[in-house]
């Protein structure tokens, strides 16, 4: 058994945690010493108190945002993967559709969100559509790249064994694409949250939302800055949680063989 300080896992958790506690401590002490008013820049303790005090309403907002995020993420994964499969099946499809995928990616969601919110009556649905549009592209581009990045030697081997399209897809292309796909998931999960929050902001200004972004807007109107920070804290926490979940998922799927997930021990 190694001493705790030399353990890689312990250091990986403890070091950033120590930095975080230090920063929060400085923040708290700094605010107190400079006596900065709560409505300008709240202390961490104010934020924590607000988190506890507004707990039920913030949690309700969190569930709303989380639902939109997860729905959008799921939709992006399903649609993105299907589109990627289509792209690799036919060069013609890819060439004719890829520019539009790029078009979706480069159009800022803030700019199209109002349009979608007006067009789609159901708020939940319109928010999900906005967030999906944001989260879609990394899945499409990464999965397409992965499905194309087949080891040429293996591709040759499959061809020599007269493997059909379907078998080549299932046994060669899909397993080979997994590392890229999981890379896409990590980016996309974060983007789904960003898309959801941005869309909520847009919808929130029209008074048609109830997610965390709306909490932030509402707190801004009432100058309840600690509640604003508390909502922000929850959004950040959600993002970290999503990212962590994707890391774990990718580890579970790839740790046996892929370089990116193999520890330093080998």
């Amino acid at each position: 058994m190694k001493p705790l300080l030399q353990s890689e896992a312990f250091v990986r958790i403890a070091a950033p945690l120590a930095v975080g506690i230090l920063l929060i401590g400085l923040w708290e002490v700094g605010c107190r010493l400079a006596s900065i008013p709560v409505y300008l820049f709240p202390k961490p303790s104010d934020i924590f108190a607000s988190l506890v005090h507004n707990g039920p309403s913030l949690l309700r907002a969190l569930t709303v945002t989380l639902r939109v995020t997860l729905q959008a993420f799921a939709a992006a994964v399903v649609i993105g993967t299907l589109v990627a499969f289509m792209f690799v099946q036919s060069r013609a499809i890819e060439v004719s559709l890829f520019p539009y995928a790029v078009l979706l990616q480069v159009t800022p969601v803030v700019a199209i969100a109002p349009l979608i919110i007006i067009l789609v009556k159901n708020t939940q649905l319109s928010l999900t559509i906005c967030a999906t549009l944001v989260a879609l592209f990394p899945i499409i581009s990464n999965t397409t790249l992965g499905l194309r990045s087949v080891d040429p030697g293996l591709a040759n081997y499959f061809r020599m064994n007269r493997a059909g399209r379907f078998k080549t897809l299932v046994k060669l292309r899909i397993p080979g694409a997994l590392p890229y796909f999981f890379g896409g998931l990590r980016i996309s999960s974060g983007l789904a949250l960003i898309g959801a929050v941005v869309a909520e902001f847009v919808a929130g200004t029209g008074g048609r939302s109830s997610g965390l972004a709306y909490e932030i807007l509402d707190a801004g109107f009432t100058l309840d800055i600690p509640r604003m920070f508390a909502a922000l804290f929850l959004i950040t926490l959600t993002g970290i949680g999503l990212f962590g979940a994707m890391v774990v998922l990718s580890k579970l799927a790839l740790s046996d063989w892929h370089e990116s997930e193999i520890g330093a021990e080998t």
């Binding site: 080891d151 293996l154 081997y157 499959f158 064994n161 007269r162 046994k171 046996d256 063989w257």
Partner: protein, 284 residues
């Protein structure tokens, strides 16, 4: 049969080696030539008969078309002119007769996400072999290359030589009639290579497996082959043919014999001649 001296040119009658009257030749290359799309003449018209059960090695300087010839034999590419026959039939007939090819590349080309047994099982899965038949065939092939203890390992956990063994097991698992190997041990150190050569010749002997082998190594060619085709470049063609008259199965003792050294010397001289610009017909 009287022992042939290594120096005797044999290209006049290449069929005398192991061909027997009752067995059709495994492959006949009939004036096949290859001109690539950019106009390069990869292969001048070549005539070659590969007898059933033969271990034939193609050797020659870079660009002599030995890999191209191997690809023609594997039907991976079509000849520009001339044709090839497999067991006296067209390529389309090969599968229907239940005859199979196996190919071993220079790289092991294993699936990194699959364990050794899953990698070896792959050609059976691609050929839609029944599940019940797969397991014993896979176990036997892995056993033959001495990797039974590593069946549940991933390729990254194996050494280069072991990966190559997995690749050979994958080739053997279908019980092929014709084994085509393109510099399979080229990337390995000499010690590992010698070991694999010894294994390969044992497997070849046990299975009476017609093998076409491409290599750069003179020693490997002499040790393994019943017949060696020396090729020359510009355009790729057969320069000379050497029959290695040493009983099978050969063991490491052959490597130390004076006969082995004589064959190697002779082959080395031929290779030097084949590499000369004059022999290649172009001075560039």
């Amino acid at each position: 049969m009287k022992a042939l001296m290594p120096g005797e040119p044999l290209s006049e009658n290449p069929d005398q080696t192991t061909a027997s009257a009752d067995k059709p030749p495994a492959v006949e290359v009939l004036s096949a030539e290859k001109v690539f799309a950019n106009g390069t003449r990869g292969l001048a018209p070549i005539d070659l008969t590969i007898a059933d059960g033969e271990f034939l090695t193609l050797i020659g300087p870079s660009g002599c078309g030995k890999s191209t010839l191997l690809k023609l034999i594997a039907n991976l590419i079509e000849p520009s002119d001339g044709r090839l026959l497999w067991w006296r039939g067209e390529f389309g007939k090969v599968g229907q007769d239940g005859r199979r090819f196996a190919f071993v590349f220079q790289e092991p080309t294993l699936m990194p996400w699959a364990r050794v047994d899953a990698n070896v099982r792959l050609p059976l899965e691609l050929a839609d072999v029944a599940n019940a038949k797969m397991a014993p065939a896979v176990a036997e092939a892995i056993e033959r290359v001495g990797l039974s203890k590593f069946a549940r390992h991933f390729p990254r956990q194996l050494s280069g030589g072991m990966k190559m063994r997995v690749s050979i097991a994958r080739a053997l698992v279908t019980n092929p009639n014709l084994l085509l190997m393109d510099e399979p041990f080229g990337a390995l150190d000499e010690f590992t290579r010698n070991n694999l050569d010894a294994d390969l010749i044992r497997l070849w002997w046990e299975r009476k497996l017609t093998t076409v082998f491409v290599t750069h190594s003179i020693y490997e060619a002499v040790f393994l082959s019943t017949r060696i085709i020396v090729m020359a470049a510009n355009p790729g063609r057969i320069f000379r043919t050497m029959t290695i008259d040493e009983p099978q199965p050969r063991d490491e003792g052959f490597r130390d014999s004076a006969k082995f050294a004589a064959y190697c010397r002779e082959l080395s001289t031929w290779l030097a001649e084949a590499s000369l610009p004059t022999a290649s017909g172009a001075a560039s």
